[in-house]
Symmetry: C2
Subunit: 495 residues, 2 copies
């Protein structure tokens, strides 16, 4: 592949014919300085003599003299046929010079950025890079149909020129919005037309968009406690007042919310598979929640992040599907079904009119979602691969969950009691009384076992000590190793 | 390609053995209703009898009876070998039923979304779909190296499984951050290490991120008047007080800003090629601006949106390159050099420490940029295609600008006087006194000539009537047609 130098781009160089210094000396000094100060780096290619001479409007002789001089001094090396480069090893005395130092700002009064610590408590998984057991929220990447994705992507790239590559609809690629709507209607019983769908670059952008569009500073927002901090952070960032609501075996405690708070502007819930506890919001509670929302003009933000994965019986229909008064905003992501680095998700708003309102704010936050990803995903869905993949993963994850449950039963039963609810992408286990949670935290960190502690997601409603284990991304073998490591940690964490 | 039905997904169906209705009748009624109310649409494939029977825990006979009945009544059609589908034409009496109606919310007190009209004045180009002369800000898409992009993309997709497809660094793909830093150091004289670079999904997200991180409600922000509303919208959305500053032949009027405003938190400038007037900030003004920023702890947001395109002499170094006190935040995009639908851009902050602060807020706004785009762009840059493309486009656009200038001179000289500054992606022309700007606006809209009026980008500093014409995306032929249409509009728009 051709390596090209930044020929016309040496915008730093300024030569003056008025100066007492000869042009040659000026050019020499400036190039040398660029090398010493690191604007030109080891291995960087210099412009061809002719090009630089043209750019600077000087004779080629001057340029070649300068290059020669710098080569003799060891700053440059000429490679026959391929050009002139900055030397890999500079003369010793230069090593003390160091590279260009950037003066960092010394904010005198205020902090550099508007950080309110409550806005930055994101789950570790969003910053971790290596995926190890029992990492949360990561699908089985090794089972992803890369071949098919590649085939479709190849076709998309081949036909790219036929697409509108200019500025596009901020709400997303229309055929993809249609595909998502039809998927949600059938699989999640969401009441949904394509006009209600907004494509976002992941659930996080979706939740932030909801916060930006619907919440004003000082508004009251109910969140599940314990709950997902990604959502809470988006609300906190909008300057709202956080109203924590405890989570029971049958989900978000509507009675508590009703009795404790007034004028709630929005309530954030994960009805299919509460994060992190894994409980499901009961049918009765769903009706109660919707009635409460209608009576108080409260928006419900339903985060259906891993609802595709239900291993007993059929998938539960969404809360949005029961909504008769347009109070529910439905949020979903492809990170849990395909892969997180794809960065596509969706919001479903109660009406197309409301979408037009959101559109105006969305354009300010992020012009439009990336086209290539949308085109690939759209074909992947239209051609039926998406549903097939979900179906395969449901079977695979059910199997992996059972593997994990057996391993826990066989090796960790004295330390852990798994929660009965069996759905989603992580398993909640209660810690036995003789385990010191703090010690355990330190041990798993030391052993590099990724275990998450729901207590870290609590705000004020304390709960018996527990841990959550993600399983979809791990083979039987890796789960086994993970459990063995975890067992060691448990033994060390005894009170 | 296999079409797959949402088999396991008919989560809407609920059968009760307790009901007096036989299972067959319940299933019939519910499927029929799904078809009438549009949850099942013409052409949707129904689950295979066996699958549905398993899902519902009933005998296959019941399912096939139901399908048969619905087929006889014209709701379904069986295609031998390929399955059972919802009929394309439903029995007449159904057409009155209509599809599932979604109740749209009736917000009683407040507007549905937080819209402040000043936050939504975005340039038309960000919503227009078809690209016609003289559309602003769109590069020459027909000259994009699609073959090479396809080759690289194909390789990226082929090796995708080797990448970390989980949750990743919110600041962007590290090798791409390095490639961008080295490009900016050499081509734009930006003082920049990879650690200072944040990859964003376009300049708009970058500017919104700056607003979210650095601006508090009530802060004062200087913007160019006339100026780019995409930036102004992001600031307005953060609740700041807008302080318009007029633009002179040598750019942003620092004296005016200094004399008129106190305690400015941030100033937004487009020094290389002012939007929309096309002026360049003089060297003297640059130094004055930086001194003012240092003295008042003012942040400078430098939007270098189309600086790659300078047709006379060498590219101007960036303002950031002259900054010695870390007050300049540099913002750029790939939309103007590659294509807008790519959605990648960058911020360069004064220090790596500051980047860590931004990171916390960025995670809340949008987890991370999409990986595939970043991988493709990274190879495209590393392999030298990027610089080569910019260089080609510089020559092409210079040619197209000259074509446009000649056409304007030959055919529109009685109506238009082109601005002398020759850089960037659009040409500013002053309107002659006998043209009624309002009439012209109506005419060009009617004729579908995309002409933009700088006066639409003004806040309080009025200026002689002018228009801007984008040219990079258009061949000589299309420019010619555009100018002819424009001439017709001009003649009709005479006072």
């Amino acid at each position: 592949m051709p390596k090209e130098s930044p020929e016309i781009f040496l915008s730093g160089i300024k030569l003056s014919r008025k100066s007492s210094e000869p042009l040659y000396a000026q050019l020499y000094a400036q190039l040398r300085e660029m090398i010493i100060h690191g604007r030109l780096r080891a291995g960087d290619r210099l412009p061809a003599g002719r090009t630089l001479a043209e750019e600077l409007g000087i004779s080629r002789v001057i340029v070649s003299q300068t290059y020669e001089q710098l080569t003799i001094e060891g700053y440059l090396i000429g490679k026959t046929g391929s050009g002139t480069f900055v030397a890999d090893t500079l003369p010793d005395h230069l090593l003390h010079a160091g590279k260009l130092k950037v003066v960092s700002p010394k904010p005198k009064k205020e902090p550099v950025v508007n950080i309110n610590e409550s806005t930055v408590r994101l789950p570790a998984s969003s910053t971790e890079n290596e995926i190890v057991p029992f990492h949360l929220g990561v699908p089985s990447l090794d089972s992803f149909p890369f071949k098919i994705w590649h085939q479709i992507g190849n076709k998309v790239l081949k036909d790219l020129k036929k697409q509108n590559l200019g500025y596009n609809n901020t709400l997303g690629y229309w055929p993809l919005r249609k595909a998502i709507a039809s998927y949600l209607r059938l699989s999640r019983a969401v009441q949904c037309e394509a006009e209600q769908v907004i494509i976002v670059t992941g659930a996080q952008q979706g939740m932030n968009l909801v916060a930006q569009c619907l919440l004003k500073r000082g508004d009251k927002v109910c969140i599940e406690d314990p709950g997902y901090f990604g959502a809470a952070s988006a609300f906190a960032n909008a300057g709202v007042e956080m109203c924590p609501v405890p989570v029971r075996e049958d989900g978000f405690d509507v009675d508590y919310a009703q009795a404790t708070y007034k004028n709630i502007k929005l309530a954030y819930v994960t009805p299919s598979h509460q994060f992190p506890l894994g409980y499901t919001l009961s049918q009765e509670k769903r009706k109660q929640l919707l009635a409460w929302a209608e009576a108080n003009d409260t928006w419900i933000l339903e985060d259906d992040y891993d609802s595709e994965y239900r291993y007993e019986g059929r998938p539960l229909p969404s809360l949005q599907g029961l909504d008769t008064c347009g109070r529910v905003i439905y949020c979903g992501t492809f990170s849990k079904v395909l892969f997180p680095a794809l960065r596509l998700g969706y919001l479903v708003l109660p009406s197309a009119e409301m979408v037009q309102g959101f559109k105006k704010i969305k354009q300010i936050i992020d012009t439009q979602p990336p086209l290539m990803e949308q085109l690939i995903l759209c074909s992947f869905m239209e051609e039926g691969y998406f549903l097939r993949h979900i179906r395969k993963m449901r079977l695979l994850y059910a199997e992996r969950l059972n593997t994990l449950l057996t391993l826990v039963k066989d090796q960790l039963s004295e330390f852990l009691t798994p929660n009965t609810s069996q759905s989603g992408m992580h398993l909640l286990c209660w810690l036995s009384d003789d385990i010191d949670a703090a010690k355990l935290k330190a041990e798993v960190r030391k052993e590099k076992v990724f275990v998450s502690f729901p207590s870290e997601y609590t705000i004020q409603h304390h709960m018996p000590p527990s841990i959550t284990l993600g399983f979809p991304a791990f083979t039987k073998y890796r789960l086994k190793l993970g459990v063995e490591k975890l067992k060691v940690c448990m033994e060390r964490a005894r009170k």
